[in-house]
């Protein structure tokens, strides 16, 4: 019948034909998908190359010494400018914020996943995920209106300080660290935990001996991701840190970071000037650091067990 006829008339119907509509359809789809993938690569390359070019230019066109730039603290917009106080400021804010957020975040994640599971997953988890999405200017504004006056009244000084930066950024990365840590702990197979409880271990012993070691690489990833976010944060920090160009002597002193100085100085410099070029070098430093964070995250998560 029809089938028999089909097979006798055209023996090569099963061979690929160039004009066939299914082939065209497939080709069009592939073209779209591959060009989008190419755009992702092009965007990354373009950012790296343009920032690299503009950032390195400072050291060739204006003969700024790389060593001088990285180690001195006198920022006056000339060839002799050094960015060390900003580099220090960025790292200080990042590590101090992680110091606040990591224990609180991981502790809360353990609470959510091991102690009050139902409440943790039905209420806390969604709330935290929403808080991850709160814009950083809002954190900055709260810093200015709540934290800075609070510090001014209780600690002394202006209130605008490294300490304020630490608190604001710490609170900002807290939901991020909590949310990723909670996911990591949840991913540990229940039977590993049951085995520990089955041996008569208390909850603390299980958490300390089983859960934390098993989730450690993922918890580290959570902290590093939080730190990467802290390092790159611009406006929230800029609004509370005081932006004083020089090394802070204590945590209650005003300071500045790479991002806060770019934010503030960029509009006031003329395109092509030394000062402007120096800012691009700061930008390049930020870019390099975000590559460094990626490398750290890859290294840490390659040891992941769960």
């Amino acid at each position: 019948m029809e089938n028999a006829q089909k097979s006798e008339t055209n023996n090569h119907r099963l061979l690929k034909k160039n004009g066939s509509s299914s082939k065209k359809n497939e080709k069009r789809g592939k073209a779209l998908v591959y060009s989008s993938a190419a755009i992702v690569i092009i965007a990354t390359l373009a950012i790296t190359l343009f920032l690299g070019y503009k950032g390195i230019r400072t050291f060739f066109v204006f003969d700024v010494s790389v060593w001088n730039f990285l180690t001195t603290t006198d920022w006056d917009g000339t060839e002799n400018s050094g960015a060390f106080s900003f580099i220090f400021g960025s790292f200080a804010v990042t590590f101090l914020a992680a110091l606040v957020a990591a224990p609180l975040g991981i502790g809360s994640a353990i609470f959510m996943t091991e102690i009050a599971k139902k409440w943790g997953q039905k209420v806390l988890q969604p709330v935290i995920e929403i808080l991850v999405g709160i814009p950083s200017v809002v954190y900055g504004l709260i810093g200015v209106t709540v934290i800075v006056p609070l510090l001014r009244d209780n600690v002394g000084g202006l209130g605008f300080s490294l300490l304020a930066g630490m608190i604001v950024v710490g609170v900002m990365i807290l939901p991020t660290i909590t949310s990723i840590s909670a996911d990591a702990i949840k991913a540990i197979p229940q039977d590993i935990k049951d085995a520990s409880y089955g041996l008569g271990a208390t909850r603390w012993q299980t958490i300390y001996k089983v859960i934390i070691p098993a989730a450690l690489p993922s918890l580290m990833t959570a902290i590093v991701l939080g730190m990467a976010r802290a390092f790159g944060e611009a406006l929230a920090v800029q609004m509370v840190i005081g932006n004083v160009k020089g090394l802070p002597e204590s945590i209650t002193d005003q300071a500045a970071t790479l991002t806060s100085i770019i934010t503030l100085d960029m509009p006031h410099t003329t395109y092509g000037s030394v000062h402007n070029s120096l800012l691009w070098s700061l930008g390049l430093f930020l870019l390099i650091m975000s590559y460094v964070f990626i490398i750290i995250i890859r290294f840490v998560s390659s040891r992941r067990k769960v």
Partner: protein
Amino acid sequence: MSRRIINNFATSVFILCAVIMTATLVYLLGYILTNGLSNVDWSFLTTNSSSAMEGGGIKNQLWNSFYILVVTLILSVPLGVLGGIYLAEYARPGKLTNVIRTSVEVLSSLPSIVVGMFGLLVFVQYAGLGYSIIAGALALTVFNLPIIVRVTEDSIRSVPKKQKNASLALGITHWHTVKTVLVPAAFPGILTGILLSAGRIFGEAAALLFTAGLSTNNLQFDTWNPFNSDSPLNPFRSAETLSVHIWKVNSQGIMPDVDEIASGSAAVLILFVLVFNVTARVIGNIIYNKITGSK
């Protein structure tokens, strides 16, 4: 016995952590909303901002935020979804795929100020777009692209393999299978991701400082010709968004009611971000239930 004491002590520490965190975050949201919403009324939302005098509103800023959001989504969603399809369906393990994965990772971890600098150089200066909606949207596209790529890849990968097999075994091409089976099944996940990313775009400020600019023309909401410089639709005019407004008012504002304007704007900003987040979850659930037929 000491085992129990340590255990109880540890448990209390964890509870304390959670209490501190929850209290901080609840206080934060509560503070912004209670403090801010008292400054928000209809006229605040519908009058122009004022640079020196009291009583300025946020009409143009709010409009600009939505306009930039829409343009950014128009640019980044198709690209991101196609890129996600590439990674989920077409990428063969190998160097090229690694390069793309690394690119997505790099783009998603770039500080937004760096994206802003790149936008300033390439879109504002080299492409000659000036401080404009379109330059801002392009910068935000760089920022949003990796999020959409990831969300699409994950959603497509979580579609059961048997669905794909069913379609391929019926003599349907791979691309048509992607279009008519995989993407529809992955749609709730993708849509949820898009809405969550919309919340992020809406609140982003640092990347816009150097691309969309800090000022807005006096927009005429009866001039819809996109080439008119006072038209709200003109994509080539500079546009201060709501989040940028909060930052600017706070750091440079000289009007007497700076605090009221900033906190009012922040409350409005947070409300919209919350709306995006909650809608994302609700729509995600509804579509999921509809597709799986469970009610």
